[in-house]
Amino acid sequence: MKLTVSYPPHIRDGTTIETVTWNKIVMVAIVALISIYVFGLPALALIVVSVLFAALTELCIQKLANQELTLKDGDAILIGLLIALLLPPTAPVWAPALGAVFAVGLVKHAFGGLGTTMFNPAITAWVFMNISWERLTASGSVPYIGEYSDLLLELGAGRLAEVSPIIFIIGGLYLVYKKYIDWRIPFSYLIVAIALALLLGEEMSYVVTGMLFLGAFIFANDTATSPITKRGRLVYGALCGVLTVVYGYFTYNYVVAVLYTIFFLNAVSAFIEKHTVPKPVDEVVA
């Protein structure tokens, strides 16, 4: 009789990194398909190039460094997809290629790979592209959710990610329901952002865009770059909301506000985490 001996646990709940990432990819890919429908071939070219270069970069780095190939966990593919979605359809195809190499090579793998990134790779790549070639990566129009049907299909979208906010809402709620992502960051982010914008009398049509939901459910909730403590996540989400509205209030651009907010808060997430470490239940107050 051959018996296996191992440490506990002897069962797992079945959720793996792959399930979580591939579920996110499905959600983002649906938006990508809609953006191809709206923008046509330029969008398709951006998405294909971006995903291809992200995957190739990861493959090359892991081959060269003699590491185990982790392409099937989907992380590089998700980064590639997201980089393409942050660009306007008018962007040249070499932009996402360089962006993907930068994101996967420098932001992800130079800092240790999956789970150890300091900044969200896709957002950092967007910041890099935006600073380097601002005119080429700036969007031609600003999304305006005037009617409820715009939530389903927003034809005035400037960037690929803005074409269908409803997909991110439904997809995000599904991910929360399946416990693939935590509810604290997206909920506190959205509640604080919308409440503050209402308080300041902002026009909601500019605030509630596809980018806000993508930011709340995917970017701000990126596990490696957000705090792990429960209170820390609530604080992080709330700060995201505050900063987004502050940036948007003064620049009138709520899309860029989301991206720069999350980029900035990535830098202070460790600080938030350090100051929100919970007290264990057995700590006796003397």
Partner: protein
């Protein structure tokens, strides 16, 4: 031919091939001298002695723990030697060959015992709570106890012990514990899986008994947390539930107390549930020292080849090297996994998803502590309150990267206990610290802070 048909055939072949051998095997019991937390007992018998069922064969002197060990069969002592122990180590054990007569010593029955009589009969009954602490020593506390909590949330314990006529014995056991500790009331903690049993016990215990429904399963190691959740009084990790004025009892202990006091029978057999790939899921009363193999055989044997045999639950239980290990006092559950269910996934890197933080019952950061333990930074683990961990195993269960958080946390705890010895002896920590696959590390034998000892009141 279908799988089940194949299995029945192999079973028949086995049975016809060597019936005598299994019969011979069943006559032996291996009773380890260490079945609790603390130092091993000293044997009171010698090789060649004849013993009766219920006769005391081992006693602990050094620390004054009431953890006596009794023979579970009548027969002859054929060896006292190191044998495999279900906590993954070798322990000195008394091997008794049964004469088949199961002749017992005369058990003293007592229908209406006083407090002194209860304590008197518990002192030698060797009853051990499932977390390894002797019940008698818990009752000796100088603190005022006002409530006895019956924990019915440990699935293995409930499925094994809360059956049939045992329920009335559990009820009388709780009453005896109340008398012995001077508690004025009892409370029953249950979750939705066993609410019916709990409410029937509550109605028979009387009006002062509270029934509390919780969502969590409180494993034996979590009695401090249970006491905190029920009373709201924080208990330090070196304390006991008595600090909050309560005694936490499992169904197993309540049953054993009632048997020991009313019927005079010491803890010589336990009820356990056998589940997984065996012919039928069954609840058995088993003599201590019976091998796991015999228990499974009495439940109809394995269906197919077993892949893993787990003692006490799949979340934090111990996988066994062989099925020849004996049943000890704290076993409530044996789970047999088929080979295809055995986890073989690779451990990935931590992505800081914080799922472990969300499920942690004691508000610590398991993933972070495990990461520090992995690189040997045990002082950092201590700063992050590694000692508060109650070892429920949930952090490993939910980890999407398949990381062994529980093992690393236990590793850090043992390292902190042993910490100052390692550099002197210049030994690799991994050799000194053991494998951490059980909650009873081989080198961690006397951490009994907070448990009152027999001799303590004299000093």
């Amino acid at each position: 031919m279908s799988d089940s048909a194949k299995n029945t055939m192999t079973d028949e072949e086995k049975n016809t091939a060597a019936p005598e051998e299994t019969e011979e095997h069943r006559k032996q019991v291996v009773i380890p001298l260490l079945q609790h937390r603390g130092a091993a007992c000293e044997p009171l018998v010698e090789v060649g002695d004849t013993v009766l069922r219920g006769q005391k064969i081992g006693e602990e002197d050094e620390y004054g723990l009431a953890v006596s060990i009794h023979s579970s069969v009548s027969g002859r002592v054929i060896a006292i030697e190191e044998r495999l122990h279900p906590h993954c180590s070798k322990q000195p054990s008394i091997i008794i060959e049964s004469d088949g007569a199961s002749e017992s010593i005369k058990f003293k029955t007592n229908k209406n015992p006083s407090k002194a009589q209860i304590l008197d009969s518990l002192e030698d009954a060797g009853i051990i709570e499932l977390n390894g602490y002797p019940v008698y020593n818990t009752l000796l506390t100088e603190k005022t106890i006002d409530t006895v909590i019956l924990n019915l949330t440990n699935p293995g314990d409930v499925s094994s012990n809360c059956t049939g006529e045992n329920i009335s014995k559990i009820i009388s056991g709780v009453k005896l514990l109340m008398t012995a500790s001077g508690a004025s009331q009892a409370a029953i903690v249950a979750n939705k899986n066993n609410k019916q049993i709990a409410s029937s016990i509550q109605s028979r215990l009387g009006a002062s008994t509270k029934l509390v429904t919780v969502k969590r399963n409180y494993m034996p190691s979590m009695s401090n947390l249970l006491a905190y959740d029920m009373t709201g009084i924080r208990i330090s990790n070196t304390g006991t539930p008595a600090d909050a004025g309560v005694i936490v009892s499992s169904a197993h202990s309540a049953l054993a107390v009632s048997r020991a006091v009313l019927e005079g029978i010491p803890l010589i057999d336990v009820n356990l549930t056998v589940s997984g790939v065996v012919s039928e899921l069954c609840v058995k009363t088993v003599a201590i020292g019976t091998s796991f193999q015999d228990v499974v055989q009495s439940c109809g044997g394995y269906v197919g080849e077993p892949g893993k045999i787990i003692m006490n639950g799949v979340l934090s239980g111990t996988a066994q090297v062989t099925d020849e290990v004996p049943v000890i006092k704290t076993v409530t559950e044996i789970t047999v996994q088929p080979p295809h269910e055995v986890l073989r996934e690779k451990t990935g890197s931590c992505v800081h998803c914080a799922r472990c933080v969300d499920v942690c019952p004691v508000n610590i950061l398991p993933g972070r502590i495990a990461a520090f333990a992995d690189v040997g930074k045990y002082d950092e683990c201590e700063k992050l309150h590694v000692q508060s961990c109650v070892e429920c195993g949930m952090c490993s269960y939910v980890c999407p990267s398949g990381r062994y958080n529980l093992q690393l946390i236990r590793f850090a705890k043992t390292a902190l206990l042993q910490g100052f010895k390692i550099p002197e002896e210049k030994q690799y920590p991994i050799i000194k610290l053991g494998c951490q696959s059980c909650n009873h590390p081989c080198h961690m034998w006397a951490p009994l802070d907070g448990i009152p000892l027999k001799g303590s009141d004299k000093e």
